[in-house]
Subunit: 326 residues, 2 copies
């Protein structure tokens, strides 16, 4: 299927700029449309940051670099592109208007992806002439460093484009994840939670962030919810955890949601999946890998005098002074 030599970037903000950087690094030319008066200066700032990042990240780099061209309309940018990446504001009406314009100029076999973090692709493709070629490819900021990209098909999306997406995004150093069911974006939920905490004066912005970056966030860099809880159960893994923690889940703890019933069958399914995921590693083995990762992350953060790395540095100073006093 489609080889991408040229991509159109519709919307050159933080996400469109990040996409541009990753594509250019992979030798793909980008055709940018963004109506903001300072769009070009902003994109250049993102590209400069990305260039530094690539140089620091790896000694092995692609030999070919793409080039940037600017265009006056979305249609002009989309014409001649193999892949058209839309990263305009998160409003269905704005996005639909952009697709209508793109479709006047796009090549018949061009693929259109939306970077939306929460709008369902089925809702986005309703008015399109060729809805089968639209899918969501949701990246994470900064797009040039974070590998995850979530691929979501709408009801009218041709399944072959998901398969194409898996190959293409893997090829540019990403980790495509096919979300087989259209669900609303969790990204926005996270923000909503944080905004409520601040709104209700439960915590300040700094406290909300500390509650993540000094604890669970250090785990999430390497393990998701399931593996984290697989290790919360000790040697018995997730099954032991559900047995221990399970009764809690039945309480009216939270206004936020219902809780699945922890039937024997469901516990079995969860346990089975967590064990499969772990492969040959027992929970104790996984603990050692996790600790080794945490140590490397803490030391890396200490090197940058940042976040939990500052706590480690402070503790070392404290021990050093105590030893001197003794």
């Amino acid at each position: 299927m489609l080889e991408v030599k040229t991509a159109a970037i519709i919307g050159g903000g933080v996400i469109g700029g990040g996409w541009s950087a990753r594509l250019l690094e992979n030798g793909i030319d980008v055709r940018v449309y963004d109506p903001a008066p300072d769009a070009q200066a902003k994109l250049e700032a993102v590209l400069a940051n990305a260039e530094q990042a690539f140089a620091a990240l790896s000694k092995i780099r692609s030999t070919k670099r793409g080039s940037v061209s600017w265009h006056q309309t979305a249609a002009a940018a989309a014409g001649g592109a193999d892949l058209i990446i839309e990263s305009v504001p998160e409003r269905p009406d704005v996005k639909r208007a952009v697709y209508a314009e793109i479709e006047t100029a796009a090549a018949a076999d061009a693929i259109i992806t939306s970077s939306t973090s929460g709008i369902m692709p089925t809702e986005l493709q309703t008015e399109m002439k060729h809805p089968e070629r639209l899918m969501v490819a949701h990246p994470f900021n900064p797009v040039y460093l974070l590998p995850l990209v979530e691929l979501v098909a709408g009801e009218k999306t041709d399944a072959k484009y998901i398969e194409w997406g898996k190959r293409f995004f893997t090829g540019i150093g990403m980790h495509p994840l096919h979300c087989r069911v259209e669900i609303e974006g969790f990204l926005s939920d996270r923000l909503q939670e944080a905004l409520w905490l601040l709104h209700d004066k439960v915590a300040t912005a700094e406290e909300i962030d500390a509650a993540i970056a000094y604890g669970p966030g250090l785990r999430w860099a390497q393990m998701g919810t399931m593996q984290t809880f697989h290790l919360a159960g000790g040697e018995g893994g997730m099954r032991a955890m559900l047995a221990m923690f399970g009764p809690c889940l039945k309480w009216p703890w939270t206004k936020l949601m219902d809780v699945p019933e922890l039937s024997d069958e469901f516990v079995d399914e969860v346990g089975e999946q967590c064990e499969q995921q772990a492969g040959d590693l027992t929970p104790r083995d996984l603990e050692r890998v996790r600790d080794s990762n945490l140590i490397a992350i803490l030391q890396a953060l200490k090197g940058n005098n940042w976040g939990a790395g500052k706590t480690l540095a402070r503790y070392e100073r404290q021990l050093f002074e105590a030893a001197n006093d003794a």
Copy 2:
């Protein structure tokens, strides 16, 4: 106030074991009670992992090491302890029974903390003789490496213990965070979300985890929700982000929760707090710090052939082979 030479560990599982490791490393003796037949072997396995972790984490270590003693009842362990840390299963009835037993033997000025991740301290202290000395000190697994500990007072908790807790936990290398309002634990919410996804066959355990560890999790190791969104707005920071993203928040996107109204006043408050948190650093400066942290984390994970580090390794191999073919 209270200096801690001896701590009681009531419940020696994953969390109690992690507490033990951190306390021993700081020269504090621990008195353990855990009725499980294999409790001692499990605790020793945790201590062995922690010992390896401490040795790898830092060349600067405390010169004094605490010792472990085992006891037949919670009362026996609690007697003679300056600090009593309860980490028994997450059931209020079980915890209350443990406190009743502890109070028969605890010294008058001993402090009692619960490691609960979600039960409100007010609910825990209802039947205590001296409820003023109970508070929640909620750590994160592995307790010996992750610095965060959330301190929560119940209605009857004496405020001076929170102040004591801030000093004490800082002294043992942690980052205490005072949660000024009692709210239900988010930890459990995260698990509930994941369980629903698996239950409804939206995603497998492995996919749920990839959706965290290959993208947002890499950011959360160093930045929380607020700072992340402060950087999603480009040069305009959180204010620009709310202007761009705001309309979404008003949609009926999610069954999960209401959304605070994005009034001018509230947007101002959020923007102000995010700018304060950033101090002298502009969003562009913060981007460079974030990228530097991400690079260090990705390289650390690559060194362990784990998670997003595997994606980086695979990409480098791919580039290397392409260069060889050319």
